[in-house]
Point group: C2
Chain length 423, copies 2
């Protein structure tokens, strides 16, 4: 089939899906909280009841995709434990406070008008993700809880798994009397469908890409629809001269090595020259024992000989691995300058007992999250108390940091009068 025809076909499919989603969004936006909760519980029950079918669909996906790396295969694989975790995840989202209709602020004007700013769902969300089939359930749950409709497009390698999971979500919607079009999966693996999603201004309100740098970059380049950008997590931990050494060691070990593949993992250590001679060797030893490797600047290598030399490229690298870039700095301004140059405005932390230094550091960065005396790995919706997250936003508009159900809402105003006219 000619490329044009494929693209037109995909555009038509997307148009149909998006219009159905838009209509469903009008209903789920106004669905009472208990109805949405019931849908999520019913979907969780369906996941558990259909475990065999889910595993079979997943096995078919895995068999149809030869030549995968072990890590990729692992991300694709469903197990009974992972299915149970998916179901539990739906129930956790169900238990969250309903964000729709919250009165965000209220005030009375001198003329007596009462103005209320009220949380309202965004509308239709387009979720584009790679690898992990469980995102089908996680993202659908967050969108539904926040009163949004969603169109999910996962990786083509997990199409059968995603479709099987989707069937469980639909069972949940049916059980609660909600429109099935509130949660849809892409009806075709064709990449042209993604392109159509990205250009569906007016039909889709927000695109959420979740995956590797390649996916996010492609989405940001092509999209006409607003994108919740989740760019790199090139996070820094800055050990200030007045840091408590024991605290610094425990925080850094956690920030780097708790899980190296998460966006909140520290990728670069900045350490004040004043404290480096005594503390840096201990930090390196701690991390080496946990399996970490290093790329260090000259001053660090003078203190701890034998470390691999770091290049500027290294300081600009999000390792997502057991590798830490290390730089010795002269005070907060130097640390801030480094972060300004190499950071991705995601998450930075300072370890210090000096409150003034902490304030100066927190005020000096522009990142979505700044921590004082805590691990960068806390940049997470669950840890923030949001219950769950659809991702971490690193752009500047609408939402920054962990994106939970509240951030999947916008707002509107209700103005209550008694006949006022404007002079």
């Amino acid at each position: 089939m000619a490329v044009n025809a494929i693209a037109q076909d995909a555009a038509r499919l997307l148009d149909t899906a998006a219009r159905a989603a838009r209509e469903a969004a009008g209903t789920v936006a106004r669905a009472p909280a208990p109805v949405k909760t019931a849908a999520l519980h019913a979907a969780a029950a369906a996941l558990r009841a259909r475990t065999e079918a889910l595993l079979a669909a997943n096995a078919a996906d895995l068999e149809a995709a030869p030549g995968l790396t072990d890590a990729f295969r692992d991300r694709l694989t469903l197990t009974p434990a992972r299915i149970e975790a998916m179901a539990k995840g739906l129930e956790e989202v169900a238990a969250l406070p309903d964000p729709v209709g919250r009165v965000l602020s209220e005030w009375t004007r001198p003329n007596g008008l009462v103005i209320r700013r009220i949380a309202q769902p965004l509308g239709v969300i387009g979720m584009i993700f790679e690898s992990r089939p469980n995102v089908t359930a996680d993202a659908a749950a967050l969108c539904l809880k926040s009163g949004n409709a969603v169109i999910l497009r996962g990786g083509s390698e997990s199409l059968r798994s995603a479709t099987a999971i989707h069937a469980c979500m639909v069972e949940g919607l049916r059980a609660a009397g909600l429109p099935e079009a509130a949660v849809q999966v892409a009806p075709t693996a064709d990449r042209a469908f993604v392109g159509a999603m990205l250009r569906a201004s007016g039909l889709i309100d927000l695109i959420v890409p979740r995956g590797g740098k390649g996916l996010v970059t492609r989405v940001l380049e092509e999209a006409r629809v607003p994108v919740l950008a989740h760019a790199e997590g090139l996070c820094h931990t800055y050990i200030h001269a007045a840091a408590d050494p024991a605290m610094a060691r425990s925080i850094l070990a956690n920030a780097k090595m708790r899980r190296t593949g998460v966006c909140g993992a520290t990728e670069t250590l900045l350490i004040d020259a004043a404290i480096a001679p005594t503390l840096l060797p201990l930090l390196i030893e701690d991390l080496r024992a946990l399996g970490c490797d290093f790329r260090a600047d000259d001053r660090a290598r003078t203190i701890v000989p034998g470390l691999t030399a770091a290049t500027d490229q290294d300081f600009a690298t999000e390792w997502l691995d057991a590798i830490l870039a290390v730089k010795v700095v002269d005070g907060i301004d130097a640390a801030l300058a480094h972060i300004r140059r190499f950071g991705s405005e995601h998450t930075e932390a300072i370890v210090t007992q000096d409150e003034a230094a902490a304030r100066a550091f927190l005020d000096g960065i522009d990142s979505a999250v700044g921590l004082w005396n805590a691990s960068t790995q806390f940049c997470d919706g669950g840890e923030f108390g949001f219950g769950a997250e659809i991702g971490i936003a690193t752009g500047r508009l609408h939402a920054r940091g962990p994106v939970g159900v509240e951030q999947l809402c916008t707002y509107r105003y209700h103005v209550i009068g008694t006949g006022q006219t404007r002079p």
Copy 2:
């Protein structure tokens, strides 16, 4: 000069300006409130002191632009009164509470982490506007107050006026010790500069277009940078069966005729069939006396003979003139269906004494602003208590309705710990 070379030249100019703006933004984001206030007051003083020079620049603009309509000429013209209004406007913005650094919310996690969500300027704003040179001062004031840097690109017909006004803003920045690059005007009237602004992702954080439908549409189509969409204001006033007739008459007259050229002007009247026979003739008479014309559906024309027949196109028209589309409806659901089909999600009002009906109407619309028993013309930053507005946002992300200094901010998180690590 070849088009390519012009585009490259404009791109280079924009790149230079945007980088300077980005650097200045780092400073103004952290400028203490009194410093920004001082800059605005000094700029106001400069406007007053340079009145003659401003008028001369404006006269040169007007002379160089033959063949303008009266309305356009009027929008372009500066007078001593308008210059004084500009200066007063700067002082009013200066008097607003400073939005930067507001703690939007704060909570403590079970593990003791204290999390704060804090308002922070967006960064660099690109303002693209038509006709009115005073926008140079108004927009610059709002951006500066909210800690943002701004690049202003007005219509080419008002380039000299805008440049002269800009000089006053720069005088204000200098007097307060703030970087001059915090407020810049486009150094060239070349349209390629606008194109470069729209594509400056990473350098400009938000584009605010302010002008006619043609400008806004072009910006939305070309922009890669997020745009604060200010689309049509196709506003509705719905007179419900349980409306107080006197209130309905006074509200409608204000909503339509107070000023017909504002986006909050009511363009379509929806009136319940139950009340139309007695009330519609009075409403038509009121408005006719004020100079309004009508496009009415068949049922309205049966009640008030002689009205021009309305087409669907009329119901989809933002008149910005003394013309009102009129439709008789059967209850709230019909009113909502009409608004859903023809509205622009801007502002809608219901007039009724029935609270349940009011709630159903307000809940049933998706518009940025919904009013009960008040005029749609209240959709305005000043009327909302925001002090001033840079425009009305009709998109769904980041901000909706009147955009004041608070809406020109985003937020970030500060997380205060005592050594916590994540399990």
